[in-house]
């Protein structure tokens, strides 16, 4: 049977709002995280190849590029976490007022950056 459900129009026809920016970023980071978790799985699997074969991976991850990638992954995870918490709160029936959606959207968008730095520092210093 042919599906008569409407599909979403392309995002370019809408004016940009904080909510739409958070929504599209949520989807993009979701796909990035799917790829990232797969790469993390491959990274773990690479341990099977032994210590000699891990030298290059270790060299790459210890470089400035490696640190940048690590920070990027943590930011993507942080964004998803904040955005998911926002969604869960909205699912409970809170935060639907226009002003509140703007504030929570900004918390997700801007707050993900300092939270990334805090998580990175906790990981480096406290663990």
């Amino acid at each position: 049977m042919e599906n008569k459900n409407p599909i979403s129009p392309h995002i370019q026809i809408y004016n940009w709002h904080i909510s739409s920016l958070v929504s599209i970023s949520h989807r993009v980071t979701g796909i990035i995280n799917f790829i990232t978790v797969t790469l993390i799985g491959i990274w773990i699997a690479s341990l099977l190849l032994g210590e000699e074969n891990y030298v290059f991976t270790n060299f790459f991850l210890s470089s400035l590029v490696g640190k940048f990638i690590c920070l990027g992954i943590i930011w993507s995870f942080t964004f998803q976490m904040l955005s998911e918490i926002r969604h869960l709160i909205m699912d409970l029936g809170y935060g639907f007022e226009q002003k509140t959606t703007k504030i929570t959207g900004l918390i997700v968008l801007i707050g993900s950056f300092p939270l990334t730095v805090i998580i990175f520092i906790i990981g480096r210093v406290l663990i």
Binding site: E2, N3, I7, S8, R27, G30, I31, N33, F34, V37, T38, I40, G41, I44, A45, L47, L48, G50, E51, Y54, N58, L61, S62, G66, K67, C70, I73, I74, F77, T78, Q80, M81, E84, I85, H87, L88, D91, I119, F120, I121, I122, G123, R124, I127
Partner: protein, 107 residues
Amino acid sequence: MGSVTKKWLFLKVSSAILVPLMLWFAINLASIYDKGFEQLLLFVSSQPSKFLLSLFLIFAYFFSALSISEVFEDYIEDQKIKNAANKSLNIFAIVFPLLIIILIFSL
């Protein structure tokens, strides 16, 4: 309960479980990403990281498969392509984490 409601509920429950697991993994990633082979092996093969890492993989793939299927629903018009994309996604989201978890527990 309808299948769409079930899917929404699974998405929300997995999201609530995934948030603390993601925070745990992000903190540990910052700690281990540049460590040598021995330290990484020690992290992956010791408890509780072995158990938490497995849980993280299960819920990350479960949640991702559900949420990416929503993206397919919104942007893929052709039903055959949509079904094929969903099937491929679901098979990958089951097989890949299962292989990695078997590997983690065999280290």
